[in-house]
Assembly symmetry: C2
Amino acid sequence: MKKVTMQDVANKAEVSKSTVSQFINNRYEYMAAETKVRIEQAVNDLGYIPNHIARSLKQKKTSTIGVIVANIIHSFSNEMIRAIEDVCEQNDVHMFVCNADDNPKKEKSYMEMLIAKQVDGLIIFPTGGNMDFYHSLKKNNFPIVFVDRKIEPSIYPTFMLDNKKAASLAVNELIESDKKNIGLVSTSISKSITPRIERVEGYKQALIDHDIEINNDYIITTERMNIIKSLEEMWKKDTFPDAFFAVNDLSLIELLKFLTSKRIHIPKQVSVISVDDSPFLEISTPPSSVIKQPTFDIGRDAAEKILELITNNKLKDIYEVNRYTPILIKRASV
Amino acid sequence: MKKVTMQDVANKAEVSKSTVSQFINNRYEYMAAETKVRIEQAVNDLGYIPNHIARSLKQKKTSTIGVIVANIIHSFSNEMIRAIEDVCEQNDVHMFVCNADDNPKKEKSYMEMLIAKQVDGLIIFPTGGNMDFYHSLKKNNFPIVFVDRKIEPSIYPTFMLDNKKAASLAVNELIESDKKNIGLVSTSISKSITPRIERVEGYKQALIDHDIEINNDYIITTERMNIIKSLEEMWKKDTFPDAFFAVNDLSLIELLKFLTSKRIHIPKQVSVISVDDSPFLEISTPPSSVIKQPTFDIGRDAAEKILELITNNKLKDIYEVNRYTPILIKRASV
DNA sequence: CTGTTAGCGCTTTCAA
DNA sequence: TTGAAAGCGCTAACAG
């Protein structure tokens, strides 16, 4: 496959390369109408598509950002991507999405790949496993914004949910419907993933605030694939929670699978509430109550921030973390 | 942000640019151990990351492919992406995923964008709205493979499900459990989307094969957002199907929403089966029986094919369509 | 074993 | 109103 270049177009239109370049970049100011037509003709005849990477090399920018999500499986990630896409589109910047799969190695390799491909900036859901790399990028003044999770100290702008609030909203809702033995289900927190940790803390705090004793036997924080096993073990014991707070959609799925398999009635026997909404929760039996993140706002603000950083290119030493207020959506599972 | 270049590394290590280039590309054959160490040192000190786009410009290839999915919402798309990713990784090629949102305009703009960014090839779930563009690319010998949907004539390799078989598997399953009035629900088929059309045809054929008359009142093919409305209308009539074939996961969701809202028991009153599996179907009530695509095989084969085309760069005039056999997964909804 | 050189396709002064 | 020339960061002969 032999690609058509600007030179080919120039030859065909019998003008110089630079004139074609002017044309391609819509700088018609000084261009004879007739020249314009000739070039247009040539472009169409040859099916010329400008080589962006040559342009980028020259301009030292690609008008492209990279987005690295922690795990694409979460419905939250998908919504965020949509929101970011919207503002990118409005600003004529492209975006590439990569999925770190909650794996710091993958995250790092994607960061390097995207930087090698000269993205102008990065939006990252940080796994937390690449502190040194973040810092070295910061030293080089490379624009990044974090989303969903924060790192300490917060050397880049960060946009995330008020997780404690989310947890207390959930626990309060459960308590109001007279549930007292409230369990928690979370996917693994071993990698110090802020939202999960904060939600667990928020859950504990909410219990304390209601003078309910924390029962560690009711708390499951483990790999997704082990959640059902842990629930089985809990089930075998003398007491079992009459309500659960699932810290995200994945843990909720596992929880529901377990509850269904045991034919436990929701909400009569066990109430359930989780963070993050997703289409399937409307058709689960019963439809699940959830704490929803203002995903769209978070995504939009993060995207606008990265574009601003790219333009201004002045990084502050430390940034405040921007927190967003969660919303309770009542359905029938509590 | 001022980027570190190969020249910077060369200066620091007191060698020439080309020597650094050798180093970066792991061509140590003739390199003095001591030089190697000095360069390594310099690379680390400066935090040098090679500029891929400069390299690509020179090499006239990016080792990157583009993937344009019709609609990322389908669970099928996600699984395909995973499968493609696997073979890319094994072959050290990067991949960029874009979502056409079932919109030919978006599809075209992504195609142009990716080609402008010099991807070496494209895997496309074609919307069917850009025939001219496909043909002009073909004329330029640009490597593409199609997935999930085909175009006529098949000028590029195509990998997709045996949709008629899928439909007949579904209908047979329904008939075997003594259901006779079998409805169909599909998202819009206006844009001539092969899988949906083929599944509708397959459904009709299967009914004919069983000497069951086709009742057009039982067939819904409309935009996702209108499905429930159409079901409502059907519901008001004298007769209502005792079973449904949903042609994909999205139409199934709508169908389930409707059935749930009417408190119609599945499968006692109405049986349900669909094409495409997805995690939420295990926790729906009851767990849904589905016709599963061998997604992994399709993705792998498509990815291997595009890499082959890129290497050989010899396009045939016409390709056969590769069909894959669907698998019935029995759960409790039939 | 290492350096010199040309050039990938484009943009951008500056000159004509 | 258009063209010539330099150069973005890198690779790949080839020379030394």
